[in-house]
Point group: C2
């Protein structure tokens, strides 16, 4: 008989996608919630700069439970050296795969991972294979625009954040403590 994941404690795969604000912020909220349960959380940021000073400072309150990794050395998608960018992306993904497999965290947040397959930096099948074969109780959150149909198919929960209004478009600059 094939092994089945115990339904009772199945880790969920959540995807926050779409062009609106709230994708990274929602994953931050989930981290906060899990930390409150005393669960270990790992946040891996694939695009440099999407996490700001505020959450990094707040995270220090939970330093025994929360590990935070900034990968990518600042992908800007404007590099002149595509091969180098690809290698950086591959290294980042390899690190994330290891984190998933090692099963030290109740929740693994792969922030802005979607851009890597979208920009052909990493093979999407490789990502899907790793995520869908993750430890059975582990929750994984993937954020970023352009989530693929395959990722959405594999997910348990998907929310599309639709931009209805954006403050920067109305001339308001980013506010301390409130940057999205």
């Amino acid at each position: 008989m094939a092994h089945e994941r115990p339904q009772k404690n199945k880790g969920l795969l959540a995807v926050f996608t779409g062009n609106g604000k709230g994708k990274t912020t929602s994953s931050l909220g989930l981290a906060f919630r899990a930390l409150g349960h005393g669960q270990r959380v790992c946040i891996i940021q694939f695009i440099k700069g999407s996490w700001k000073y505020g959450e990094l400072e707040a995270a220090k309150q939970f330093s025994s439970l929360l590990d935070f990794h900034v990968m990518g050395r600042g992908f800007t998608w404007k590099s002149d050296d595509l091969e180098k960018d690809k290698q950086v992306a591959l290294d980042a993904w390899e690190f994330a795969s290891k984190v998933i497999r090692e099963n030290k965290y109740a929740l693994v947040i792969l922030d802005e991972l979607t851009y890597l397959p979208y920009y052909k930096m990493i093979d999407e099948q490789e990502i899907l294979s790793t995520i869908t074969s993750r430890p059975s109780s582990q929750h994984v959150v993937v954020t970023g625009r352009y989530a693929s149909a395959e990722l959405i198919e594999a997910a348990d929960l998907v929310t599309e954040m639709l931009e209805i209004k954006h403050p920067y478009k109305s001339g308001v600059s980013a506010q301390k403590g409130f940057e999205f």
Copy 2:
């Protein structure tokens, strides 16, 4: 000359609406971010039960900066006593108005406030008037389905969370540390 809000430090009004998961979770993420900046945050929950054990425990790490109020004594919209429900809603809103006016917080989160005008418990104009005349540097977040056109018009930032997939529909029960 009319007074204008100083553009440099204008508090934003953000609205998270729509039928998808992530509305309350996003506001929680914003709270976390502001707390990391050492800013004071007030969360007012208008519908009992939308905030779970996880965030309440996590919030304790920031007890000097974060105040958390559960109003409504559990609106279920199934009460037999509409007048009593209305009074409870009015009391809750009066409390929130006071918090906004007193200007003790950099960020005030009005979680699931939208249901009160939607169910005709409170006059929407009263809410809009209070929110739009808030202290100039104060950020306010309103969450909940059915945000009105007027609220969206008044907001600086609006994201609609669209449900693409929901785990409970695929037979997965709520998971500790990951409840939305």
